[in-house]
Structures are given as C-alpha cells and as structure tokens.
C-alpha cells in the first residue's frame, strides 16, 4: 500500500465520521402542510383602498406584502425601469388605527448598495426585483438580486432587516450555475411543523418552478421541481388544501400559448405532477391565490382575454378546477399586474398589484363577506 493510499484511507475514515455526524444531526423536512384555516364570511362587507401610489418617475412594480403587528408593509421595486441599475426596494407601512387604515409615506427599504454591503464578503448588486416576506424569521425578506446580466442571472437573497435597512444577507444556494437564475414572486407556504417553504423559479434554459425547503438556519435543505418539457412554468403560486395536497398555479413565460399552468402535489410538496395547461386564459401573467379553507380558493388573475389588463377576483370551490368571477378591477390606464394576496391576522384580506403597466402600486383591504357577496 502506498503512502497516498494510506492517506486516502485516513480521509475515508474522516468522511465516515462526518457522514455519521451529519446524518445523525440532520432534521429532514417534514412534508405535511399546515391545514388551511377556513375563512368565514361574517360581519358587514368591508372594502378599503389603502394605497394608490404612482411612482414620481419610472416604474414601480411587483408588490409583496410583509405582515406585522397591527398591519403590514407593502414592498415593491422602483427605479427608472425594471432591471436597471437604479432600482431599489421601496415600502409603505399600512397600520390600522381608530379611524381605519393609515398608510405611511413610501420610502426606500432595501438599496442595492446596502444589500451588497450586508453580505459577507460584500458583493456587487446591480439591480433588485421581486421581494417577499421571509416568514421563517421576524422582519426578514427574500429579494431577487442581480449582480450581472438580467433576470436569468438573478439569485435569491435572504435579507435580515434592521430598522434602517439590511443587517445581514446571503444568497440561497439553489443552482450549480454560479448560483444563478432563481427568483421569487409568491408568498411562502406554511408547514405543519411551523416552518415555511419558499416558492421560487428558475429562468435559464428549461424554466421551472421550485419549492424550496429550508433548515432552521435558513439554508437550503431541499428543493422540489414543478416542470414540464415544452412549457415554461414560472412564478408558482402554491395553495395547500390539506396536509398533503396542494395546487400550484404557474405563469407560462411564453405569452403566445396564452394559458395559465397548473401542477399538483399529493405528498406535501415533495413531488409535483407534470405541469399542464389549464383552460384559463393568461397573458403570461402571474396570479395570486389564497386558501379559504379546504378546496376553496380565492384568486386574482388576468384571465379575461378581451381585457387582459383587468384583474379579476375569482372563487374556486374545487381546488382550482372551475372558477366563478366575483369582482373585476378595471385597468383604466395600462395593465394591472403581479397581484399579491395575503390573509391578515384579523382575517381581512389584502390584495396588492401594480397598476398602469408598472407605473405604480395599488392595495385594497377587504373581508370575505365583501368578496363573496360580489
């Protein structure tokens, strides 16, 4: 036996020890969704427009909603134009006071420079995109960050926030391609063990949706794909029905096909059915959806082929197979896009979307009684 082989045997022994240690301390993800709590339509119908913001110049697009005590923050990206090197994340805080909802002045929440400086070691961040709440950590966000190139070269950054901006940040490890080409759009999915999974999507090559499971430290522990050869499924919006079943609505990046995509899981998100087209028209636009309990789903979609800029609020009683239109938000000047639906702690529902073809952000708060009486 050579000296090299002896050394390799020692390395193998070390590897066996490391393997035993990592297997023993590993906490693999539990694949059982938190059962959605039914949302009951009770009380008087209520509907408020809490934010109607137009960017002073350029574009404001892709709102996310981060829940907080006594209200929520609406987050969006704003700059001269999408994917340009002057885009930062803005936010407006919405709180409920005695006289109803109050909205604070929009302000820069995450700048490119601050995000880059918060990484260890500091990294260049050229532009920012879709941003959502990281529900696994208080006050944390996931933002889409680009250091070089366009959206296909984006990474998802886990951003831990302080009162003045990012305190720490790191990119999630989702791809061996220089950690590139993953983005976020939709809110996280809650699991029965209290953890939350991150819906993301891959934009290079064969596009696909991904459900990302994270460990207790926020590092990627597993990732399950939603895929279909020949389709370009992105921006998965996942709605659990019970502990094991969920439906994902996905945007087809190819606008020519003009249909919303769908995938389902029956094992808590570990595996997903092959993504397929639905009959629902879609101008290659993402949808927002929210469980009302069981198979009942409330969704906001651009599903009118005669008015693709309009956003329609619809209800499904059969987990997304059929839909009944409840309300139409008309696009007077430019399309209404990128809806985000979140359920607030008082069971109100917030709907945010971009208006005027990326010119500004609108947000409404309503209750189930209002939605279902439409």
């Amino acid at each position: 036996m050579t000296g090299a082989q002896i050394a390799i045997l020692a390395l193998a022994a070390l590897s066996v020890g490391l393997g035993a240690w990592t297997v023993r301390r590993d906490a693999p993800p539990a694949w059982r969704f938190a059962a959605p709590v039914p949302l009951v339509a009770e009380g008087a119908p209520a509907f408020d427009t809490v934010l109607d913001y137009t960017a002073p110049a350029g574009q404001a697009h892709s709102p996310g909603v981060a829940l907080g005590e006594g209200g929520f923050d609406i987050l969006w990206f704003e700059g001269s134009q999408e994917a340009q090197a002057d885009v930062d994340i803005f936010a407006a805080s919405v709180t409920r006071g005695d006289g109803g909802w109050r909205v604070g002045a929009p302000r820069r929440r995450v700048t490119r420079a601050a995000l880059g400086a918060a990484m260890e070691p500091p990294q260049l961040v050229v532009t920012l995109g879709n941003t959502i709440e990281n529900e696994n950590a208080s006050g944390a966000l996931y933002t889409t960050a680009v250091s070089v190139g366009g959206w296909a070269m984006a990474s998802v950054a886990d951003v831990r926030m302080g009162p003045e901006g990012p305190l720490g940040a790191r990119k999630l490890n989702l791809s061996p391609l220089l950690n590139r080409s993953h983005l976020v759009k939709s809110p996280m999915v809650e699991y029965a063990d209290g953890s939350h999974a991150l819906p993301a999507y891959f934009e290079m090559g064969q596009m696909h949706g991904v459900l990302v499971r994270l460990d207790a430290r926020g590092r990627v522990r597993d990732a399950a794909r939603m895929d279909a050869p020949g389709l370009q499924p992105i921006q998965p919006m996942i709605v659990p029905q019970d502990a094991t079943r969920a439906v994902a609505f996905l945007r087809d990046f190819d606008a020519a096909r003009g249909r919303l995509l769908i995938s389902r899981t029956t094992d808590g998100g570990r595996t997903w059915s092959r993504v397929r087209q639905t009959d629902i028209p879609s101008p290659s636009a993402p949808v927002a959806a929210l469980s009302l309990g069981g198979a009942r789903i409330l969704a906001a979609m651009n599903d009118d082929p005669d008015a693709p800029g309009d956003l329609r609020l619809s209800l499904s009683e059969d987990a997304g197979e059929t839909w009944r239109v409840l309300h139409r938000f008309r696009a007077d000047e430019g399309a209404l896009r990128y809806p985000m639906l979140r359920r607030l702690k008082d069971d109100s529902i917030v709907l945010a979307y971009s208006k005027g073809t990326k010119r500004g952000i609108t947000a409404h708060v309503f209750n189930a009684a209002w939605a279902l009486q439409q």
Partner: protein
C-alpha cells in the same frame, strides 16, 4: 466566530488564491517558480485585503462565488507542481469522462434532464456516499487530490461554511473551460 463570518473569510481566501494563481501564471513567464510564487501570494493577499469591498473585488465575489474547494485546490496544486511537489496529472480519459459527466450534471440543473442531480447535494446520506465513492476512486487510482477535495468539501459543508450544497464545494463551472483548455493542449 459565526458560520457566516467563516464563510466570508473562506470566499475571500479562495479569491486570493485565484488572483494569486493568475499573477503567478503571468509572472511565471518571466520569473522562476519561487519568485513567481512569492509574487502571486503577495498580489493575491494584497488584492483581497487592501481592496476588500471595492467594486472589482465585490464584482468578482458576486460573479464567481461560491468558489468551493476545488478551484483554489487546483490552483495550489499547479503551483505546487512547479515548485517540485509530486503531483500525478489526470489522464486524458479521466478529464474527458469528467467533462461529459459534469455537462450532464449542469444540463440536469438547467432542467434539460428530468432528474435533479443537484438536489442530492443537500442531503447528508447522499453526500456521505458520494464522498466515499470519490475516496474509493482515489484509492484505486492512487490519486490523493480528489479525495482530499471531496472530504474537505464535506467538512466545510458539514460545518455550515459556504454553500449548503456539497456540489458547490467540489465543483465549479470554471472547470469546464479549464478542462477544455487542458484537453485541447493535449490534442495539439
């Protein structure tokens, strides 16, 4: 020291090695191995300490991180070989087989292959088995370098330093142009 801090230091160290390797390679055209190595070490260390946080360094980190173990290990291996350390070169067949396998792996990551091979790099049991397989290959061929990288990658991965995926510790997309260059040199 937290895992994030150690991860940051390791990324900086890896970048220092790569910048130093580049300086060593360029310096080696005019200098003998020892002064070229000293020059590379000085430039590599200087770049990431004096210019830490500057646009070029921040851009290189953003562009190439996570560096992992393999790239800096290869750079150090080449420098070591020129300094007279015994280094067994990879055979042409090994390099060609690696190139094909790695391209399939990347194609799978891009969705061109239905199996997501990268997913195995998050889980401890597959990582343990893959590392031992590399050790077995190294034992059979007498190649210490690959087991060293695989186990070092497993150690960093287990301690939460750098990427949460083992493959990022032992592979890097820059290996493709590197291997292609070596194969082309051998063909010429």
């Amino acid at each position: 020291m937290g895992a994030a801090t150690v991860s940051g230091l390791l990324e900086q160290a890896a970048l220092a090695v790569l910048i130093g390797w580049l300086a060593w390679a360029l310096g080696g055209m005019a200098l003998s191995p020892v002064p070229a190595t000293a020059l590379g070490a000085a430039i590599g260390l200087g770049a990431v300490t004096v210019f830490a946080g500057t646009l070029p360094i921040a851009a290189l980190i953003a562009l190439l991180a996570p560096f992992g173990v393999m790239l800096p290990a290869l750079a150090l291996r080449q420098v070591g070989a020129h300094l007279g350390l015994p280094v067994a070169p990879f055979s042409t067949l090994e390099l060609a087989a690696f190139l094909v396998a790695y391209l399939v792996f990347l194609a799978a990551a891009m969705g061109a292959v239905p199996v997501d091979l990268y997913r195995f790099g998050y889980a401890p049991l597959p990582v343990a088995l893959m590392t031992l397989a590399v050790c077995a290959y190294g034992f059979a061929t007498g190649n210490l370098f690959l087991p060293l990288v695989a186990v070092a990658g497993q150690l960093a991965w287990a301690l939460g330093w750098g990427s949460s995926n083992w493959f990022d510790h032992v592979l890097h997309v820059l290996l493709i142009p590197i291997v292609l260059t070596i194969l082309a040199q051998r063909l010429i």
